[in-house]
Subunit: 208 residues, 2 copies
Amino acid sequence: MAQGNLYILSAPSGAGKSSLISALLDKEQGKNRMVSVSHTTRQPRPGEVDGVHYHFVSVAEFETLIEQGAFLEYAKVFGGNYYGTSLPAIEKNLAQGIDVFLDIDWQGARQIREKVRSVKSIFILPPSLSELERRLIGRGQDSAEVIADRMAKAKAEISHYDEYDYVIINDNFEQALVDLQSILRAEKLTLGYQKQENQRLIHELLAK
Amino acid sequence: MAQGNLYILSAPSGAGKSSLISALLDKEQGKNRMVSVSHTTRQPRPGEVDGVHYHFVSVAEFETLIEQGAFLEYAKVFGGNYYGTSLPAIEKNLAQGIDVFLDIDWQGARQIREKVRSVKSIFILPPSLSELERRLIGRGQDSAEVIADRMAKAKAEISHYDEYDYVIINDNFEQALVDLQSILRAEKLTLGYQKQENQRLIHELLAK
C-alpha cells in the first residue's frame, strides 16, 4: 500500500475553502482522508470542540511543544495567538495510507514545503473581488471595519497564489469540488504513487 | 486563453486504450479535445477512413515527409510499415486551446518527450496478464500464434510503463474513464495553466 498524500489548502477568507473541505470529506467518507487538527492558543468559538476543530492549548504549552520540535510549521498571527501543525500525528496517518489536508496560510505553506518535499499545495481563489466582499459581508457577523480588514488580508493572501502547485477558482461550488477531487485522484495516478500502490500487479505484468 | 495540452497515451494492445479515447471524446464533445491523426503506410482495415483514422500514404510520400522534417516522431514497425505524427497540425490545434492526444507506443513517446518538454504521458495497464490475454482472444479474429505474438509485444510495451507521468489501471472501464478525466482536469488546474487561462481574473484580484 502506498503512503497517503499530504496536501496544503490555502485561500483568502471568503473563498469557500472550509465548505469545500467539509463537502469533500462528507462525499468521500471512508476514502481515507482527513484534515489535520491544528494546535492553537486562541479561545474556542461557539460550537468549536477541542481535539476536533483545534487542539486548544495555553501559550506555555504551545511554547513547550515548539521547544520539543513537535511542529511542522507554526505561526504567531496578529492578535498574538499561535497556530501550529504537529508532525508526529501527520506522519502516523500518512503511513496508514490516509491523505492529510493542512488548512493553513501561505506562511505555513512555505514552512511545510521546506520540510516535506512531496507535499502538494492547492490555492483557492474567489471568482472576483466583489464576490469575495459579498461573501465576507454575507456572514453578517462583522463590522464594516472588520470586513475591510479581512479584504486587505485576503488580498495579501491572494498575492501568494503563485507559490502553489494548483489553483482552483471557486465560482461554482460543485465545479470547485469536482476540481478538488480531480486533483486528488490524478495524484493517485502518478507513476510514483502507482508504483507503490500496485507493486504486485506490476510485478506480475513484468514477469518473464 | 491558455494553449491546449499535449498528451501521449500508450498501452499494450488489449488494455482498452482505444475504447477509453472514444468514450472520452464522446462524453466531452465540444470540450476542445481531439486525437491526432497519424500518417501510416499500412493498408486501411475494413471500416477505416483516410483522414479520420489515419492519413494513409505511400512509402514514397512518407519518406518525403521525413525529409521535410514534418514528423514529431515516426517509426518503422515490424512488417515494415511506417507510422508518424505530423508536427504542424498539432501545433495549430494546441494554439487554438485544443487538447491533442497522441495514441502512440513507447518508442514514439520517447521521441515526443525529447522535442516537446511540456507533453504529459499516460500509460494504461490491464488489471492482469490473464485478463489481457482474455481480451486479446475475445476479439476472435486472430490465430493462437498471432495472439501469442501480441502477448509478447504487450509485455514488451508494458516494460516501459515507468517512463510515463501517469499510470491508469483499466480494471473497471468507467473508473478508468473517470481517472483519465481527472488527469485532464487536474492538468488544467496547475499553476502554469491557470496563470494563462485566467490572466484577467488574477490581474483584478492582485490590483492594489
